[in-house]
Amino acid sequence: MIRFAGVSCERDGRPVLRGIDAEFRAAEITVLLGRSGSGKSTLLRLMNRLLEASTGTVTVLGRAVAEWDVYALRRAIGFVPQNLGLFPHRRIGEQMHLAGAERATAGDLLERIGLPATYLDRYPHQLSGGEQQRAALARALAGSPKLLLLDEPFSALDPVTRRQLQQLVKSLAVTTVFVTHDLREAFALGDRIGFLSAGKLAAFGSRQDLEASQQPELRLFLETLA
């Protein structure tokens, strides 16, 4: 589905990612875990070319991202940034339409995400925090993407709403890459988890693999569970 081969990335002349080799499988939720500044959001943005790799190759759906028409690549990928990026001046339905959904399918999609179809005519500020997260998710899914990239979308939510939305993401059955700094969230969601430390992929595997890892920074994360 997605493959990183020898990928590094510099931002403002500073190395943010180094020597990343990884494969993200189809129909799985892969979580990227790490502390702030570990490079996980950068790694995510290399997949839809919001950022470009300095060296190495990122392959999405069998083709190197550099060979894709960048707009076609982005339309094939749903994206929810940390602050959601909902357009304050556009109704939810209009935003979903911009992302590629017809009105009828947009209403169905909204209901599947747990919002009434009447919300198509609402503006983001008329929605609660949890509803805005759902709307952002619905917009990301509006173009029937093959891949969903979520960058800490639930970090500002109360634990109950957060749990509901995690379950929703699991139920979508779309290949997903999910960035978080929350180990509990990573374990709750991830089929596989990549642990990033100082721009390197320090561990990558199942929950059991991570629990067995001796990587010092990851041990610090695991201690927070105790």
Partner: protein, 196 residues
């Protein structure tokens, strides 16, 4: 000359000058917002023009363009440019990064991002710039009478020369009313564009 004809001349001067400033200022501001370094030089140049007193600017333009309405329009245009540039750049700069990133990630082209997201969100600020430009130009345009461009300033200069208060009022009152009306209309539009 009657007041209505003078007010008509005055309004025409203002509309042509502000219209041209908007026509040139908007694309220039979009460019300046995209290219902050050279854009900053553009804004400073516009700042500099603003510091030249109106009569002095007319004097400077006199040998180049000659006397008459055309020169007045050029000078008024130069003054109207700054608020339009500044407010458009500020408006575009105030669009949240996450909103722009989401639009780009959606697969929108740069032109679509500008049309669908950046310009609508910057619109209240852009209109605020037009409002400042229009109201100040209505005032500055009274000076245009000094270079034979006509308008309501004609009464002011005649009134000053003859110490005739009625002539002064015949120039000042319609100009003030025009400014108040323009402020009110553009303020209303600005307010409408901020509501969603």
């Amino acid at each position: 000359m009657n007041i209505a004809a003078a007010a008509g001349e005055h309004l025409l001067l203002v509309l042509v000058a502000v219209g041209l400033a908007a026509l040139l200022g908007l694309p220039a501001a979009i460019w300046a917002a995209r290219n902050p370094r050279p854009g900053n030089y553009l804004l400073r140049t516009a700042d500099l023009v603003q510091t030249i007193p109106a009569l002095a600017l007319f004097g400077l333009l006199l040998p180049v363009i000659g006397i008459g309405p055309r020169m007045a329009v050029v000078a008024l245009f130069a003054y109207a440019l700054l608020p339009i540039l500044r407010n458009t750049v500020a408006g575009l700069g105030s669009v949240p990064e996450a909103v722009k990133e989401a639009a780009v990630a959606m697969g929108l082209t740069p032109r679509q991002v500008l049309r669908e997201v950046e310009l609508p969100l910057a619109a209240p600020s852009i209109v605020a710039g037009l409002r400042i430009a229009t109201v100040t130009t209505i005032g500055t345009a009274t000076v245009a009478a000094a270079v034979g461009a006509g308008g309501l300033g004609t009464f002011l200069y005649r009134g000053l020369a003859t110490l005739e208060p009625n002539l002064l009022l015949a120039g000042a009152i319609p100009a003030a009313l025009m400014a108040i009306l323009a402020d009110w209309i553009l303020g209303w539009i600005e307010n409408k564009l901020s509501q969603y």
